[in-house]
């Protein structure tokens, strides 16, 4: 009898597990769609803040399509204007007008310096790069434990706190395989951008590796927009300004 009970309990657990996994993956996809439409354009400002309060600012125009295509164009300051970055799957390039040709870069570099790196600036959907390993509930938030799908992803693991009602992240910790904290990203200041897009307009990040420094990303505009695939190619990088 006891054995039957054990087998019955195990069977219930096994049946429940796939449902749990599906819900967590669905939740992650919902988070992605609540943050951004699948294809959109946006204007952002990146601000690197030093411990003494001094700042350096960069203004970007970004476009994204689907799960693996992102491009960004620098609008300011003058020394960066015209530079662009492109991400196509696992490939990433930087185009500098004075150099005149794109060069390959890595996701862990940072074209702007500061705490944000290229993976943060040219971010893809979380569901495209991470699998959900575990889902916990803490008060009015979910806690998602995410694991990178492959070694090309910038961070091996993420811990994502998600507001239960809004299905939007409030905080993400980015970790190494050894669970060392690389950086923490905070999502703040929810704003209605129109077109049904209500999301954090202010993202702040800090890192124990860069004590006293922080970087901030402010969104001014997010708009659904469809693009041809040819926009996300090396040959088109010099022409991103024409999309504005």
């Amino acid at each position: 009898m006891r054995v039957h009970k054990i087998i019955f309990s195990l069977a219930l657990l096994l049946l429940a597990a796939p449902a749990f996994a599906l819900d967590a993956s669905v939740l992650l996809s919902q988070v992605d769609r609540n943050l951004n439409p699948e294809s959109y354009e946006t204007y952002r400002k990146l601000i690197n803040v030093e411990p003494d309060g001094k700042k350096k600012e960069f203004t970007l125009f970004s476009v994204k399509k689907g799960t693996d295509k992102v491009a960004a164009l620098f609008l300011a300051p003058a020394s960066e204007k015209g530079r662009s970055t492109l991400r196509l799957g696992d490939n990433m390039w930087l185009y500098i007008p004075s150099v005149g040709k794109p060069i390959r870069i890595t996701s862990l570099q940072s074209v702007v310096g500061g705490v944000f790196n290229n993976a943060d600036i040219l971010s893809l959907d979380y569901a495209a790069e991470y699998d959900v390993v575990r889902l916990e509930e803490t008060g009015n938030e979910y806690l998602l434990h995410l694991k990178a799908k492959n070694r090309n992803v910038a961070y091996d693991q993420l811990k994502m706190w998600v507001d239960k009602g809004k299905k939007l992240p409030t905080k993400i910790e980015c970790l190494t395989a050894a669970k060392m904290l690389i950086k923490t990203i905070y999502f703040k200041d929810h704003k209605d951008f129109g077109g049904g897009i209500v999301r954090p307009a202010f993202i702040e990040t800090d890192s124990p590796l860069y004590k006293g420094y922080k970087s901030i990303m402010i969104f001014a505009k997010i708009k659904k927009r469809s693009f041809k695939d040819e926009v996300f190619t090396l040959t088109y990088m010099a022409n991103l300004e024409s999309l504005r």
């Binding site: 350096k56 005149g100 695939d229």
Partner: protein
């Protein structure tokens, strides 16, 4: 040397009084007016660059350049540059112009100024898949950093400063782009029509030719691939291919291979007689770029110059110069030196005229957490005669739109070697550049 230090000090003092573009307060704002797109754009770059050369009076190149002047042991040069660019966009069309004014002053040569239109072209973009351009532009083909053997249609860049902007040629180009799913993600085709007539690209090669070229680009299995062909015309036919790929997330490998048919190359034989030979040439480049977790970038390239001169060729050339200098010193006859100058312009005097080189650049971002500070070290090594240059450099970008760079170049090589016979032993350069 004193005037160089005075000049640098003056610039640094002036910069201290520049309004600081970085400001310290807690407000983070982003106004919509900051992102408003205007149909026109105007901007530019201004640079101040003093250079101090420590001359090598016993070198063959010094004797060739300054045979009838005593330059002393140092040469101080003051350089200024102003680049202006503007564009106007309406609908699917766009006009773009970039001018360059270069000013140089030295106590020996006085002042010299040159203004040129580096680029000036019109663009039509009916869709993301199609683009047509007509005017003066730079193509920048190739994946190499210091050298680009496949860049058949641009001026040769300076490997000591590969990122410097260059004057373009007048041409018509088109880009056709297609994207796919699957291993082949991108295909693009770029045909080029390149005229060479009086006053139109007339320094490129044989005049009265309409040259045809093309490039096919593929992103195939996450590898950038280019196939290039230039038909017979102002220069002989040539073809090339290049590639670039990430081996791991922080290691990139790239390469180029160029084949030039029937290239004509002047050379000096052992008897000091100028000959020429026609031969097919193969040049190649292989390089890697690596980034460590602590932001050290290593760039290493090997370059084989199929049009290069051998160590014996260069020895003959330097011997010819020395004989010419001796002839001038004893009789005042400049005939041999004049021939040597023609040879220098014909190929012996270009950057990297010999066959095999390697290039190593180490660049460390913000060591010891010194913000906006990037020291680098560059070595260029001639594998044929073992002469080389070592160039340490520091770059500071802490003030928005301002770049400050100091570099020193040290030349090592015995007599009759490429770098050993350069007219200077070392140089010190300071560059302050401002974008607006």
């Amino acid at each position: 040397m004193r005037s160089f230090i005075r000049g640098c000090s003056l610039v640094v003092i002036l910069l201290l009084f520049l309004p600081m573009a970085v400001f310290a307060d807690d407000s983070y704002t982003f106004n919509v007016s900051e992102i408003e797109k205007k149909p026109y754009h105007f901007g530019g770059y201004v640079e101040f660059r003093p250079v101090l050369y420590v001359l090598d009076k016993d070198s063959a190149n010094y004797q060739l350049q300054y045979y009838n002047q005593d330059r002393g042991s140092t040469l101080m040069e003051w350089n200024g540059r102003l680049q202006l660019e503007g564009s106007y966009e309406k609908g699917m069309s766009r006009l773009y112009v970039k001018t360059d004014t270069d000013y140089r002053y030295s106590s020996y040569l006085g002042g010299d100024e040159r203004t040129a239109i580096f680029e000036g072209y019109g663009t039509l973009k009916p869709s993301p898949s199609w683009k047509m351009e007509l005017g003066r532009k730079v193509l920048k083909w190739g994946k190499g950093y210091a050298w680009n053997p496949v860049n058949f249609l641009d001026r040769v860049k300076d490997p000591n400063d590969p990122d410097l902007p260059m004057e373009g040629y007048i041409m018509a180009t088109m880009d056709y782009i297609r994207s796919f799913d699957g291993p082949l993600k991108t295909f693009s085709f770029t045909p080029v029509v390149f005229p060479v007539y009086d006053h139109i690209n007339d320094d490129f090669g044989i005049k009265n030719r309409l040259n045809i070229a093309g490039k096919v680009y593929l992103l195939l299995y996450d590898t950038d691939l280019d196939f290039i062909y230039v038909a017979d015309g102002s220069r002989t036919a040539r073809m090339g291919l290049d590639f670039s790929r990430n081996v791991t997330t922080n290691l990139e490998i790239h390469g180029e291979l160029a084949y030039i048919r029937d290239d004509r190359q002047p050379f000096l034989d052992a008897n000091g007689i100028v000959q020429s030979k026609n031969h097919d040439v193969v040049s190649g480049l292989l390089g890697i770029r690596h980034l460590t977790a602590f932001d050290l970038t290593t760039l290493f390239e090997y370059y084989h110059n199929g049009m290069g001169y051998s160590a014996d060729d260069m020895r003959n050339y330097f011997l010819f110069i020395r004989k010419g200098y001796q002839l001038y010193s004893t009789t005042g006859n400049t005939k041999m030196l004049t021939s040597a100058q023609t040879l220098t312009q014909g190929g012996y005097g270009r950057n990297n005229p010999m066959e095999d080189y390697f290039y190593l650049r180490l660049s460390q971002k913000e060591p010891f957490d010194i913000l906006y500070f990037t020291p680098s070290l560059t070595v260029m090594f001639n594998l044929n005669d073992r002469s080389h240059t070592v160039t340490p450099e520091v770059l500071y970008t802490g003030i928005t739109n301002l770049e400050l760079r100091f570099r020193a170049g040290f030349i090592q090589g015995s007599r009759d070697t490429e770098f050993g016979e350069k007219q200077n032993d070392c140089r010190f350069e300071f560059r302050a550049g401002y974008y607006f």
